[in-house]
């Protein structure tokens, strides 16, 4: 390196404040001893000052606009190629997608609830909704309704004597089947006679069945049911048809027990009777489908005798008196048709 070049570098470093302590001492010594070096330093300083005094050019507004426009064009591509970093870009994109999907699901759910609320019938909304939480293979229980066919006996046979004037609080038909028709007939006839019920008619003997149309108070019917309960095991099937009265339909209670009939009759009004009849029909339907009694085990049920019929005890030697039909008050009157058919 030439001496002049070395001195120039030293002087420039000194000017720019980049000289080391040793170099600064060297420059000071040089400037003291060499007028030419001092002059050179002054000239270099002027050059430095001239360049530094050039005006600072602020970027025109169009530069900033141009940069932003370029970025806008570039950003969609940037997300694909990962301008901001592949991981960060992908993460942000995934979060946005998940949030969008969640928002869509929430929106659809809300809309579904709104539509369901609008379209769902008012009656069904009051009923508890069944769930699939119970894994038991229980079929849907249907409460059977029947169009009010004319009572077999009443229509086919002669009119019920005296029954026309009875305003029954309950009207229904108990359909029984038994293999021992004759023995059952004897038992029922005796039970009717002992209960004090008014028997309007008996018929059907020619068709291999017995039809008893009886009327009386709830107490007297209970007496009859108590007697029938003792022979209930002889019935192969027992079905109670409860007339609803208002809708001209009947609630059909299959596999009915004597106690259940008594429970239905115990209700004070027709509406309550129909409701309890429906409940019993549902219960019996479940029981029929669960011969293993899993349901009872599940609910802690210990037996079938939901209702215990108190066997009335006569405290006097008097026989119950048979009252004429017209004397029975309508609100206490029960009109029950018992049809016993022989089963094969």
């Amino acid at each position: 390196m030439k001496k002049e070049q070395k001195i120039d570098e030293l002087l420039n470093s000194f000017l720019d404040g980049e000289a080391t302590e040793r170099e600064q001492i060297e420059v000071q010594r040089l400037l003291t001893n060499s007028a030419q070096a001092a002059k050179r330093l002054k000239e270099l300083e002027k050059c430095r000052m001239l360049v530094g005094s050039l005006p600072y050019a602020e970027a025109p507004v169009k530069v900033m606009k141009g940069i932003k426009a370029s970025i806008r064009k570039m950003l969609p591509k940037a997300h694909k190629v990962g301008v901001f970093g592949r991981h960060e870009g992908a993460k942000h994109l995934m979060i946005r997608q998940v949030l969008s999907a969640a928002a869509m699901v929430a929106l659809v759910t809300v809309l579904g609830v709104v539509v369901f609320t609008i379209l769902m019938p008012a009656s069904s909304s009051k009923q508890p909704m069944a769930t699939n939480d119970m894994k038991l293979p229980v079929k849907k229980i249907e409460i059977k309704y029947e169009k009010p066919a004319q009572p077999v006996a009443a229509k086919a046979e002669r009119p019920i004597e005296g029954a026309e004037g009875v305003l029954a609080g309950f009207s229904g038909r108990l359909q029984l089947k038994t293999k021992t028709l004759a023995a059952v007939d004897t038992s029922i006839s005796r039970a009717i006679a002992e209960s004090g019920l008014v028997q309007y008619s008996t018929s059907g003997r020619d068709r291999g069945e017995r039809v008893y149309t009886v009327g009386g108070s709830r107490e007297t019917v209970n007496l009859l049911l108590s007697d029938l309960d003792s022979i209930w095991g002889r019935f192969d099937s027992a079905t109670l048809f409860v007339e609803t009265g208002q809708t001209e339909e009947r609630v059909v209670v299959d596999n009915v027990k004597a106690g259940q009939v008594a429970e239905i009759l115990k209700q004070d009004d027709s509406e309550a009777r129909i409701r309890i009849a429906k409940d019993i029909a549902s219960f019996n339907g479940i029981e029929k489908q669960l011969p293993g009694k899993e349901m009872f085990a599940a609910v802690g049920y210990e037996g079938h005798d939901l209702i215990t019929i108190p066997k009335p005890v006569l405290t006097s030697g008097e026989r119950p008196t048979t009252k004429p039909a017209g004397e029975i008050k309508s609100q206490q009157q029960i009109l029950l048709t018992i049809v016993v058919a022989g089963s094969e």
Binding site: V51, L54, A57, A59, V63, V83, F84
Partner: protein, 201 residues
């Protein structure tokens, strides 16, 4: 216009946010440096339109490569490296438009400006830079002198005397050794002294 800028904690923070896709951080970085980069490019390429376009291109490259920016150097020097490389490459492709027009100016007008400049510099021992800055014709003389330097020398002088970078930062921006920075600055100022001639003597 000497501004020393080190790698600030703000730059580190903004770059991190920018890498996560924060457009506000990106905008802050652009706002912070776009004029300084434009000014440096303008002094190197000597054309306002070219400088605007190159500044824009610089920031596009910054955004494209910010995920690969490792932070070993400061964002400031990294962005300037991109800007200077783009500008030098552009100049090497042969567009010297501005100074062709300057050279077309009348010699008479040029001589008058040189006389005024000499007067300012020789009036006392500490000449007023503001007087030069305020006079457009005097600025043109300096710019013309700068344009006569070769690209490497011009870049190093502009980074030092206009942008105010220290030697280490210049070394970082131009990716050259510190000794090379020293010798290049020395040669550049020597050449400038020769170009300006009696104005500075």
């Amino acid at each position: 216009m000497q501004q020393k800028t080190a790698q600030t904690s703000e730059d580190i923070f903004l770059v991190q946010r920018c890498r996560r896709g924060d457009s506000a951080a990106l905008e802050r970085l652009i706002t912070k440096y776009h004029s300084r980069i434009y000014n440096t490019i303008l002094r190197i390429c000597a054309n306002a339109d070219d400088a605007a376009e190159l500044t824009q291109e610089t920031f596009v490259k910054v955004i494209e490569n910010i995920s690969e920016f490792e932070g070993r150097s400061g964002f400031y020097t990294w962005a300037f490296r991109i800007a200077v490389n783009l500008t030098l490459n552009y100049r090497q492709r042969g567009s010297k438009l501005t100074f062709r027009s300057l050279e077309a100016e009348s010699d008479e007008q040029d001589e008058q400006a040189k006389g005024a400049l000499k007067e300012i510099l020789s009036s006392d021992d500490s000449p007023d830079p503001a007087a030069v800055t305020a006079n457009k014709e005097l600025c043109q003389i300096v710019l013309k002198a700068l344009d006569k330097l070769d690209e490497a020398q011009r870049a190093v002088i502009i980074l030092r005397d206009i942008e105010g970078m220290n030697y280490e930062q210049i070394s970082d921006v131009l990716e050259i050794e510190l000794g090379t920075v020293k010798s290049r600055i020395s040669r550049a100022r020597g050449a400038l002294r020769e170009i300006l001639g009696e104005i500075v003597q």
